[in-house]
Symmetry: C2
Subunit: 324 residues, 2 copies
Amino acid sequence: MKEAILRLLKESRTEYLSGEEICRTLDVSRTAVWKHIQSLRESGYEIEARPRAGYTLTGVPDRLYPGEILDGLSTRFLGREIYYCDSVSTTNDLAKELARKGAGEGSMVVAEEQTGGKGRLGRKWYAPKYKGIWFTLILRPPVTPTEANQVTMMAAIAIATAIKRETGVWAGIKWPNDLLVGGKKVCGILTELSAEIERINYMVVGIGINVNQDEKDLPEELRKSATSLKVESGGSISRVRLIQASLTEFERWYGIWLEQGFDPVLARWKEMSVSLNCPVHINTPTKSWDGWAEDVDKDGALLLRLPGGELQRLISGEVSLRLS
Amino acid sequence: MKEAILRLLKESRTEYLSGEEICRTLDVSRTAVWKHIQSLRESGYEIEARPRAGYTLTGVPDRLYPGEILDGLSTRFLGREIYYCDSVSTTNDLAKELARKGAGEGSMVVAEEQTGGKGRLGRKWYAPKYKGIWFTLILRPPVTPTEANQVTMMAAIAIATAIKRETGVWAGIKWPNDLLVGGKKVCGILTELSAEIERINYMVVGIGINVNQDEKDLPEELRKSATSLKVESGGSISRVRLIQASLTEFERWYGIWLEQGFDPVLARWKEMSVSLNCPVHINTPTKSWDGWAEDVDKDGALLLRLPGGELQRLISGEVSLRLS
């Protein structure tokens, strides 16, 4: 009912909507309307009431409420079932729990803040309140765990495309799946899966985007290596519109991948990459390498040409771009 | 305390052990001893009490109690932490739950019966009470999900070796990981994993062995395709000893794999295979193939030589041996 009233207010735009009309349209009492209006105000919606004229919506809060995300979302299945948290340990952990309980393909967890945010390989991910987009998608693609990496690479393309569309900022992909602007990280993707050897039960694709942090909001130790879309574009970004664009692009690329396989994804990934055909330094838990990032193979592994001429295949690792 | 009393009874073998001595050795009251003896009897242990002589153990129940499995187990870490269930939906599901809560590497879930037993690809697995061994091992190997299949193949070797050692029955491996005796299935392995793209959080290796079923205990529709070690060896098998041998061989091969990699595992797997160098029929969800099973590659994929001469690589599928 609350959502229905909000929809009516949005539809009437700057016009005043009389309480009587709301009652008639939705078949509820004046008291109920008043209560829902109060509740919307508590959620951050600014609603002006004028005697004998009615209500008008003067402000929408900067929140990732499901109602806001769904309002104008053009996807078919992705993000149509939304679990919203004001604060959560990690959206991936909650998504895994929901997936285990049967949440369907395309379900999404979104949070205003992650208190235990993590990056790849157990590293911490700084995810402060209302500043970024921290969300996780639940997928059940009919592939083996070996192919899961293809979805992560596909996700990087989709998010970079959405960022370009909504903010004009061009983010390049650093192998395997970070998005960089001017060499600084603006988005990270953490994919986790539950699988048998021959099939995936479910996978969760966690995406963190630094959106509206000012430079001062970034922890000092990260300012050299991380940035936000606001810093890069020079203005505040609508997080709701960016998440809608991300879902749209993700669903589009997911469809391409399911229908046409990995080839078009890999081709586009290479086009958007900023860590190919350049000298790189790579750290793995056991070893580090210097070499020329020559190519990425069909499994998403990086092919590194070593100074001696040998080709080294790397599945995992932390790339630094060597500006030589 | 109950375990301590059982241990004393086992140590004294056929001698009578006086209640007084138990009290003195373990520093407990006569009443406590009596209660624990009763509790052991309720668990199925046959304990004779003779006035003025004491207690003697005359029978051990055919149960997979942790105390029985640990008694004489020579492993270093595998199966030293045991979760025992009289009945469970599936040992894999319980193991996954325990692994999520932090159960350490080598922990084991064992059940007398699975009510929801399943095989690969969601198929039903018939797991009746007290007749087989249904257990799951929790592992946390430092590898990527792509390498998880290596553990399953390693498990097949280990279990086949343990079966040979304990029962004299030679079980061959059918790709990817069934154990067959005379063309009939005697063991299945279902591996599941929780992972990121670059590392495994945990994997659970579920192993089901048909042990003491008589032919009449096998469902009629399975008699052509399944058998038990009792049927094949002609006598009852100690399930406890077989599980101990399985744990020992599994730990040994796991160590070889961690230290030396997949090569020695793959070599041994090929030696024990009954579905290589022979004509096979293979069903996948979308297609079926006839061909010559030529080899298995370093990812565990089957290389099938098609009648036209082409080599087809298969990651998943159901093999039927074609006796031509």
